[in-house]
């Protein structure tokens, strides 16, 4: 029972903290998984996140991957359900009130306030991932190159991921 309870308590809290989306909680998720519970190393965490980003689907897929590492398939389900359920209930209720809420002038300000915090949190996630993925200048160059390609071109991100993996596989990174 113990690993399931640990997964449920970690991911149950993280879901409600995901202001603006999953990336906002990535630093805290890494802290919990690596430092607090020792489920994975920092490098493994980055690999799992990278794998989750390369596979089709919502970017929360790193959550069931961590769950599976801790307690197999049931662990994956427990982690995913714990992560999704609390915000799901919240958005269900807000969704039903939405007709009355939307268009209120203060709502725009609330949104702007949340967006500002989200931008900072996503930046923190980027910093964390870059620091744990990059050991040398070649790696940093790859991070910057991936960023520029994704910003300046309309290639599917999957190609950038495949390119990164290929460069790594042939030993250039």
């Amino acid at each position: 029972m113990e690993p399931y309870l640990a997964l449920a308590s970690v991911f149950g809290r993280l879901g409600l903290l995901a202001v603006g989306g999953v990336l906002s909680v990535l630093p805290e998720m890494q802290h919990q998984a690596v430092e607090v519970h020792g489920w994975v190393t920092a490098r493994e965490f980055t690999s799992m996140f990278a794998l989750a980003q390369s596979a089709p689907g919502p970017n929360m897929m790193v959550v069931p991957l961590l769950g599976a590492r801790v307690a197999g398939l049931p662990g994956a389900v427990v982690a995913a359900v714990s992560f999704v359920l609390p915000p799901g209930l919240l958005v269900f209720c807000v969704g039903r009130l939405w007709q009355r809420l939307r268009g209120k002038p203060w709502l725009h300000d609330v949104q702007a306030g949340l967006t500002a915090v989200t931008v900072g949190l996503v930046a923190a996630a980027a910093l964390l991932l870059a620091r744990s993925a990059a050991d040398n200048w070649q790696d940093w160059l790859a991070v910057v190159a991936a960023t520029v390609i994704l910003l300046r071109t309309r290639y599917n991100p999957l190609w950038v991921m495949i390119g990164g993996a290929a460069l790594g596989a042939v030993g250039l990174l």
């Binding site: 202001v19 990278a50 870059a130 993925a133 991921m161």
Partner: protein, 171 residues
């Protein structure tokens, strides 16, 4: 309900399916719903599935829609991870993951810059919002550099940031 899939960022695919192919919502309706889903914490696409599912079939629709968007991708990613764990000791795989990690970091960095752009360089009628820029930097320092606990940080950052936006602006 149909499972929705896409690579890297699912949102453009979701939009295409909901607005252009199935015509469940028009473009304005989709943007309205997206605003709601970004207002409430949680994975955006899952939130979208909850609300859209509820509009069509009530609570059962929500549960079905969430299962639809998560179960397929979850099966794929878990299968992929299980397959890769068989070969994870090979240097080739380790090195590939090293490169993949760098690309993923680039992906999140690109997302950051896309999100930060409207704050740093807004289109002309909108003026630069120093309150928002300040709060974004504060959040970056608190979580990214000082690594303060997220719950406590949000308990301060969110009310302050929203409060600053609610304050009247000088023209």
């Amino acid at each position: 309900m149909v499972g929705i899939s896409g690579f890297g960022s699912v949102l453009p695919w979701t939009r295409r399916m909901i607005v252009e192919q199935r015509r469940w919502l028009d473009a304005a309706g989709f943007n309205d719903l997206l605003a709601l889903c970004q207002l409430v914490p949680g994975p955006n696409v899952v939130n979208l599935a909850v609300v859209l599912g509820d509009r069509f079939h009530g609570p059962i629709g929500s549960v079905t829609a969430v299962a639809g968007v998560t179960s397929g991708p979850m099966a794929i990613v878990l299968t992929l991870a299980a397959a890769l764990s068989q070969v994870s000791s090979l240097p080739l795989v380790t090195n590939a993951f090293h490169g993949l990690g760098a690309a993923a970091a680039g992906l999140v960095l690109a997302t950051t810059l896309k999100m930060a752009h409207p704050l740093a360089a807004p289109r002309p009628p909108v003026t630069r919002d120093w309150r928002a820029i300040g709060m974004a930097l504060l959040a970056l320092v608190a979580i990214g550099l000082l690594r303060l606990p997220l719950l406590a940080s949000l308990a301060v950052l969110v009310p302050v940031s929203v409060g600053l936006q609610l304050l009247p602006r000088r023209r």
